[in-house]
Amino acid sequence: MIFEFYMTASQILFYVIAAFILGCGLLAMTTRKIFRSAIWLLFSLVGVSALYFWLQVEFIAAVQIVVYVGGIVVLIIFSVFLTQQSGTEMPKAPVKRTIASVFAVLFGFAFTYLLIYKNNFISGEGTFDAGISKIGNQMLTTGEQGFALPFEAVSILLLAAMIGCIVIAMKTSTNQAKGENEQAANTNKK
């Protein structure tokens, strides 16, 4: 029997991208320096955006890069730098925990695989068009398929998020300033 091993170039590309995402994710989990962990996460998210490009949903890929790679990871890196131990190596995880996490990963994989395997995927008719002009048209029109009101509501959501994070972050920073002042006063007393 001749074993036919045949993959299209597109399939090869998918496996390369998938291996890249999984490899970087694994390194983000296993590296002992928390800052390097953040950088590996960044590469993993770049790989996810590559997967979106592979699916030919360019807009989602751009969103992935701008928001996740450019925004969220930068935020994570800043919060890592806010801690005092960004440069130190973390202690090695105990063997018990490693075994438990391996089991958790295997269980999660089996569960997800089962769900995907059992699900009846229905192949749709026609071509899938997620072009940016179509998104823009739907986003700005008010007709049957228009999303003008949700689009404006998003700005209020963003406004609420911005005010919320300013209130919370400013509170901690003023508390810290107060603490520093008290410390200075104490040292002056001494």
Binding site: T8, S10, V67
Partner: protein, 116 residues
Amino acid sequence: MGAGSLIALTIAAIAFSGIAILVAKVVTKATTNKQKGEAYECGVVTTGPSWIQFNVGYYLFALVFLIFDVELIFLFPWAVVVKEIGWLALIEIVIFFFILFTGFLYAHKKGALKWK
């Protein structure tokens, strides 16, 4: 221009830089010393660890940046169809911007963007 050409390009790019590095490794006679490990012409040698704690102010800037980053995402599809739709699109984006601008004004008023 399909996935095949992309793979070919990737392989060519890796080979292009890889062969250059390999040839340089083979041809040159490499020696190592302590000076080579230092950052090249980057000022004086640091004393103590360089992993210092950041100012909290950076975090606030990053948060505000993230919000406007998400706002930017909505600008991409808008910019593509603005000519097609015309005035309505312009009015909608002005409302969108105005609501977010009040958030910026709030941040400014609260002194969130002041460097302390």
